[in-house]
Symmetry: C2
Subunit: 230 residues, 2 copies
Amino acid sequence: MEATATGVRAQAKQAMLEAILTAARRQLAEVGPAALSVRAVARDVGMASSAIYRHVASRDELLTLLITDAYEDLGAAIETAESEAERGDYAGRFRAAALGARCWALAEPHRYALVYGSPVPGYIAPEATIGPATRGTAVFARILVDATAAGTVTHVSRSQIGHAVLVPQVMHEFLPGVSIELAALGVLCWAEIFGLISFELFGHLVGSVADNEAFFDAGVSEMVDRLGFG
Amino acid sequence: MEATATGVRAQAKQAMLEAILTAARRQLAEVGPAALSVRAVARDVGMASSAIYRHVASRDELLTLLITDAYEDLGAAIETAESEAERGDYAGRFRAAALGARCWALAEPHRYALVYGSPVPGYIAPEATIGPATRGTAVFARILVDATAAGTVTHVSRSQIGHAVLVPQVMHEFLPGVSIELAALGVLCWAEIFGLISFELFGHLVGSVADNEAFFDAGVSEMVDRLGFG
DNA sequence: TGTACATCAGTGAACGCGCGTTCACTGATGTAC
DNA sequence: TGTACATCAGTGAACGCGCGTTCACTGATGTAC
């Protein structure tokens, strides 16, 4: 009974935290991260503002929770999308992962902006955000690793890339066996994917690109070519 | 004498506006666009907060001025950098323009984030920002146009790009004579350049990329290849 | 099972603060004769 | 050149508002005997 008893309290607490985060996500979408306010969240959730402090230490911790939450959610979306492609189809896996990222971003523009837009002034991301941040990226890395292991990489860009460009530890941990050239190309593509998504979401394609989805697809096709998954 | 007289007043007014913008840029760097405050700007400039309203209609107009100002400044930096390359060296011009953008962004990270980071919540950009926004982009467009006119474009990516992807008016106005394929490739590169800059500035390369400049250079080299400026 | 005690989620008032914008005003600077 | 008047940049008080965080408190829920 003891375990169940404390379990009930803990469960209620967990549910309350979830409600607070839901309200905070709503707030985020309305006023943005810089104007996110503990009091507004409390109002939304129907509590005294001071009650929030029973669940969250400060406004900054609330922001941290939103950030890790967004990274995890985006990472999960990329994982799910990628997992639906055939394992041996590296182009398909890459395409699915990229599209998964874009779909999530379109559905959750404010949470996307929170993690891939401007840093929040005055907020310093604690170490706890690093883990979740790599989740989505790791999916892309795995595709490169698998393709290399399978010997499917047929051609990489002709541009020269110095050996010191990437951090060795990342090469060992996330890209074992992958050549520096392909790894650097992968990081470039990773940045391009999020560059394309940001441009679309932040309005820089308005007036230039008529069909955002076709444009993104064209970009991804090009990346697949470059990576040698053609 | 009349013209000089009003000229003196007008000149003082102009100087005051410049002082306000300088203070506003400082504020922007400290607290970000969402927290930019008329009162803090007034304090910085040494005036009563109400005095600001003699020069600027509202907080939103102040933001608009900062945005057009940032676009113009970035555009000018790209123009200057690009103009130093030899006219017939399209790869060199492209490279210079891209590096010019990156240099400006590194020197003015907050103003860069203002225009290429997350949109400011609750702020709706007026039409007046459109013109300045195209200034830098136009430099890249001109390189494509010139290279096409000179017949220097030797090879474009093998990926297929539908004809409806780009807005026809933009093709006519900024990219006359340029093929749809090259134009789309150009827009992709444009997005990639700003994607790379944003990733670097917003901290997404920390821990992965050891040498940001070399990495950016590698990316640009690759783009030059793709565009057929090799 | 029943009772005494401890835990702890939520309250509401209070702290000191900053915000955008308006408004009647002052006083220096420019203009017209 | 001298004077009367108009312009207008800057003032400071005021409006109504929201903020993060603390603190002593209440009262329900869980725990230990």
